[in-house]
Amino acid sequence: MAEAMRATVASLLKGIERYNPENLVNLQRYVDMQANENTYDLEANLAVLKLYQFNPNLYQAEVTAVILLKALTNLPHSDFILCKCMIEPGRLLEEPVAKVLVLAELLETANFNEFWITLMKDLDPLVEGIVGFEDSIRKFVCHVVASTYSTIRKDKLRQLLGNVTEAQASQWVSKYGWTEQLDGYVFIANQDETIRTKNITEKISFDSVAAIMASGR
């Protein structure tokens, strides 16, 4: 359903129509759809925030919180920052937006253990309403782990993924093509290939000196 809406919404965002507050109802409904069906449309969500910016009396904290949570599911893209730049500072202190900001801070500083603890502590109905939220976060965790580690302890990985069961952790491992070693470590990749000491020496191509040599005749 959300996919079908995508085309209709795109036409609502063209040119000057984007600033028409009458579109807000449809766009807000579309945000809900994204949450229920695990889809994501950054432009539409930014349009909602912009309409709130231009018409502060139409602001809705709940919708904003959902938009921010959806932005977190697209980490490591900096969608969250883009959203924050359009929200009035006063609104950032209100619940439930303030709680989302706390979660964001933990994720952006890679403080994944704290993140899961905080999430479990007050499992907001809002977060529950977003289908696939936790899995998207786990995807991000794996992205960061993959670029940082070549081998990591399995129980550490389990912790970072939110204290999942052994079986679930193994699922994630195989999903990314990693291998579980017998000594309790997970082998991710041979980073030696990509991360190597580089000596950048200057390369002067023939083209750049060709002109000089020609004029030196």
């Binding site: 040119g15 000057i16 600033y19 028409n20 507050p21 009458e22 950054l42 432009e43 930014l46 912009k50 910016q53 231009f54 018409n55 502060p56 490591p76 893209h77 900096s78 920052i81 883009l82 924050k84 730049c85 359009m86 929200i87 009035e88 500072p89 801070e105 952006e108 500083t109 890679a110 403080n111 994944f112 253990n113 960061v144 782990v145 670029s147 940082t148 580690y149 070549s150 081998t151 990591i152 302890r153 550490k156 470590y185 980073q191 030696d192 991360i195 190597r196 000491t197 580089k198 000596n199 950048i200 020496t201 200057e202 002067i204 750049s208 000196v209 002109a211 000089i212 004029s215």
Partner: protein, 540 residues
């Protein structure tokens, strides 16, 4: 479109904008009264012969569409006369000028554009509120004339003037928004009343509407698409877009949108406005230096706020190099030169901030200038001095705006600064999240392998905390980097960090990038320069 105040044809607008609702008689405000007196005294003001001749000549070349002469009058004639007669006062009012030019409506609109621009720039205390409103009406007239015609209007103006129109239009909107948000104690009661009864004046929707209309009318986006793929833009330009006036106004409006969206904090839309412009090609905008500099400044700033430091650094270095090489061209145009100097300094500051957060190689000449003037600041920021980041940001950032009118009664200075404080806050949070990164980097540079426990001891934190920091380092250093295509929003995740590492069990393996000094580029450039000199000597 009832919700947006679209410019309407001339006969309808008087009532629509409430033009007749306020009158300019004695109000008790000395500035407004002085204006009223000049308005009436103006009829007896004798316009000097030389000015009369200039205006008549100017009108003639505009009607004849003699582009070269129009440019000459616009850039030299007008400015010389300003310096001679109107250094700190306004030019004669339009009513006085009208009989000299035979009440040529079109010329008077263009004249008033210059008139108000001069008032904003040179008059002590700036424009009065009624002058702001009048200037707004004049822009409505101008854009109505251009946009609501049946066919393309028979007018040609030099690119520099077209850019200045769009640039000034947004600048006056910016100035008005800032004025509107000033505390009530700095405004008179009449001004507050006028502001309250004229909410549509300098309304953000109208400004956006103008820019979008110019973009749509000229089909500039389609033209750019076709142009980048090597086709002929005229084939998609449509009736209006084929004319240089509409095409360039459309183009400059795209840059206008980039600027306007950045001022409102919407960096995504800002970059999206330019999605059909390929920065690495020398294209349409190169001919107006002020436009190019504005474009690169806002693009660089947007990239920085989006945490795309590599793109920001590349963009800023390019334009700073360009300014370095073309600085001599602006020496004789003082106002332009001052403007460019200020933006130049702002961009250097932005570049220094980005390089602290994301060290990477840049061009030698830009780098040496940075080392000369900004090394102190950079050192402070590298050590985690948040106050220095704040000062630099405050200097380098654009003047952010709020799109909505304030509550005129309340004395709320915090609210008027809100747009700026929000952007500063977002930036500071981002910096605070990365504050440990430079320190970790400096330790990593010293080793090829380092056990986690050892680095944790150096950093005075637990092993687990260090692992979190290292993951944070990796996350922040992997930027989205533009690689191909025209849209500045596209990109792939890359890490071009000087120092890179990975963790194997409990050991950190570090890869450093050693760069050899580049001599080739410098010598090749010097060769070419000498060659040119020799050639020019030979021909003289």
């Amino acid at each position: 479109m009832s919700w947006a105040s679209a410019p309407e044809p001339e006969d309808g607008y008087a009532g629509y904008y409430g033009y007749g609702e306020y009158d300019m008689s004695h109000t008790g405000d000395p500035r407004q009264d002085m204006e009223y007196e000049r308005h009436y005294a103006g009829h007896s003001y004798i316009v000097p012969e030389v000015i009369k001749n200039f205006l008549v000549y100017f009108q003639k070349v505009i009607n004849q569409r003699d582009l070269l002469e129009i440019q000459n009058s616009y850039e030299n004639g007008f400015n010389k006369l300003t310096d001679r007669f109107f250094k700190n006062t306004a030019w004669p009012e339009a009513e006085v000028v009208a009989p000299i030019v035979g009440n040529d409506k079109r010329f008077l609109i263009l004249y008033k554009e210059l008139y108000y621009r001069h008032v904003y720039a040179r008059l002590q205390g700036g424009p009065s509120l009624s002058q702001r409103f009048d200037s707004y009406f004049n822009y409505c007239d101008l854009f109505n004339y251009i946009l609501n015609a049946d066919g393309p209007v028979p007018l040609e103006l030099p690119d520099q003037w077209l850019w200045d129109i769009v640039d000034e239009f947004i600048y006056q909107f910016q100035s008005f928004s800032i004025f509107r948000h000033k505390s009530p104690s700095k405004k008179t009661e009449d001004e507050i009343e006028l502001l309250k009864v004229n909410p549509k004046m300098w309304n953000v929707h109208s400004v956006l509407n103008v820019l979008h209309s110019l973009v749509d009318k000229s089909n500039i986006n389609k033209q750019l698409e076709v142009y980048t793929s090597g086709g002929d833009p005229d084939s998609v330009a449509g009736e209006f877009g084929q004319h240089s006036l509409y095409k360039m106004l459309g183009y400059f409006s795209l840059v206008g949108l980039l600027r306007l969206h950045s001022l409102l904090g919407d960096y995504y839309q800002a970059l999206k406005a330019l999605e059909n412009i390929d920065f690495n090609k020398k294209s349409l905008y190169s001919r107006v230096p002020a436009c190019q500099i504005t474009t690169f400044y806002f693009v660089g700033f947007a990239y920085m706020m989006m945490r795309r430091y590599q793109d920001a650094i590349r963009t800023l270095s390019n334009i700073l190099l360009y300014i370095q090489r073309t600085k001599t061209m602006f020496q004789n145009k003082t106002q332009l030169y001052d403007q460019i100097s200020k933006t130049n300094d702002q961009m250097y500051t932005l570049l220094s901030m980005c390089l602290v957060l994301y060290p990477m190689r840049i061009d030698e000449s830009v780098h040496s200038h940075l080392r000369e003037k900004y090394q102190d600041k950079m050192n402070k920021m590298q050590r985690g001095d948040m106050a220095e980041f704040e000062t630099c940001f405050a200097f380098a950032c654009p003047k952010f705006l709020s799109p909505v009118p304030p509550n005129y009664e309340l004395e709320n200075t915090a609210k008027s600064k809100e747009p700026f404080t929000l952007q500063l806050h977002v930036f500071k949070v981002e910096v605070a999240q990365q504050i440990q990164v430079p320190t970790i980097r400096s330790y990593l540079k010293l080793y090829t392998t380092l056990p986690i426990a050892k680095l944790a001891a150096f950093m005075d934190m637990s092993d687990d905390e260090l692992c979190t920091q290292l993951m944070c380092f990796k996350h922040k250093m992997k930027n989205l980097v533009w690689t191909k295509g025209t849209s500045g929003l596209d990109g792939e995740f890359q890490s071009a960090s000087e120092v890179d590492f990975f963790i194997d069990k409990d050991m950190i393996h570090i890869a450093d990038t050693k760069v050899a000094r580049r001599y080739g580029d410098f010598f090749i450039r010097q060769f070419h320069k000498f060659d040119e000199i020799m050639r020019s000597l030979k021909t003289t």
